[in-house]
């Protein structure tokens, strides 16, 4: 999706402020929002690609004017409202008027260490060989569906070189909508001077991770 989230290379944002830090404690709303996301029962089960896509669907002006963890709020209430588990009235009042059926018990505190230990992994155990090998020249496709994708706009149409092969990973475009379709994943190196008219140095490179179907042989 050609959304506001796809901001790699966008002009117009000012200097980075390295000194900015935000507090993190049990009474801070940002900390609670971040950890709420890891704790609540999600409809259909946790799917990081769907969550990311819902975040991308926040209106562009809201996206640019909301705090980072407030965008997580908008994402999560979107995920919940989409299936009817919460309503606008309930979100405004904080008072439940209905309760979803057959959702089991919520995640207990004891489950945290297992989640922390294991995390989730988009990699799948597929033995088939990848189409490209390090050193191969590839072109990123003009691929911008109205839906989830993780092909950044700044490399579309550009030629890069396969740097590293990372095994087979589920394709976000399909996984976001519940279709698990693993593909070979590569780090691909692009010369900054090919990507940007105003790139400063001749040897500098940018390496996004690209799934095989995002690429064609050059």
């Amino acid at each position: 999706m050609d959304g506001i989230h796809d901001m790699g290379g966008m002009h117009g944002f000012g200097p980075v402020d390295p000194s900015r830090e935000q507090p993190f404690s049990k009474t801070e709303w940002r900390a609670r929002m971040f950890c709420l996301e890891l704790s609540y029962t999600q409809p259909g089960g946790f799917n990081v690609d769907w969550l990311r896509h819902v975040l991308e669907c926040i209106p562009p002006d809201v996206y640019l004017t909301s705090d980072y963890f407030d965008r997580w709020y908008w994402r999560d209430v979107g995920v919940l409202a989409n299936v009817g588990w919460v309503s606008i009235d309930e979100l405004a009042s904080g008072v439940a008027t209905s309760r979803p059926q057959d959702v089991g018990d919520p995640l207990p505190p004891e489950a945290v260490s297992v989640m922390l230990e294991q995390g989730l992994d988009s990699r799948r155990d597929v033995a088939d060989p990848p189409a490209f090998k390090p050193g191969d020249r590839v072109r990123a496709k003009f691929h911008s569906p109205l839906g989830a994708t993780r092909l950044p706009r700044y490399v579309r149409g550009h030629v890069g070189v396969i740097e590293q092969y990372h095994g087979w990973h589920v394709l976000p475009d399909a996984n976001a909508v519940g279709d698990e379709r693993p593909e070979p994943l590569y780090s691909v190196g692009f010369l900054a001077q090919d990507l940007w008219s105003d790139a400063a140095a001749p040897g500098d490179k940018v390496f996004p991770c690209l799934w095989e179907s995002y690429l064609e042989r050059e």
Partner: protein
Amino acid sequence: MKVPKETKKIMELEKELHSHLPSDPALRVKALESLLVEKGLLNSATIDRWIEVFSDEVGPKNGARVVAKAWSDEAFKKHLMADARKAVDELGFPRLEANNLVVVENTPKRHNVVVCTLCSCYPWAIMGLPPTWYRSFEYRSRVVRDPRGVLREFGLELDDDVEVRVWDSNADVRYMVLPERPPDSEGLNEAELAALVSRDAMVGTAKVTTTEQGN
């Protein structure tokens, strides 16, 4: 449960939600937590537990130990560069958001820096929560295009003959920068070395020196 997943519908829904709910995020988040608890979808103690984890148990100190060990133990470093996940497993670190860890090494002629242009992906289990600046639009938009200008804002000036490599964590691969070991650090042991390694050095926006404390 089969979840309907239509982009256009979600866009409309997000617009509607935003236009009907109050502006203060602290109030909204509080109401959301109460609501989800009431609905049987959330246990507040689980939130508290996660906050403890991210306050005390995982953070840049994990990454700093990895860096110090790589500086001190050539066999570990070789393993780390070849298969970072397995090497880090040896140290007993967890895997959340770091199952596909890749370590990129700085040298006198090559400087690495990490970003996620599409959101703010970061190797939580090894580095903790991303810094506020890492999540900023300024960093996300600019570091792929003008890395030298951004690094200058961190007080880091690179020579023209140093190649800059920017790694975009747009997939589930997570990067950690292995900084250069400071030249005057020969006598230090692993714990002393780890204390020098700052979070920013492992993202690539700082160098490690013997005069600076890690954070």
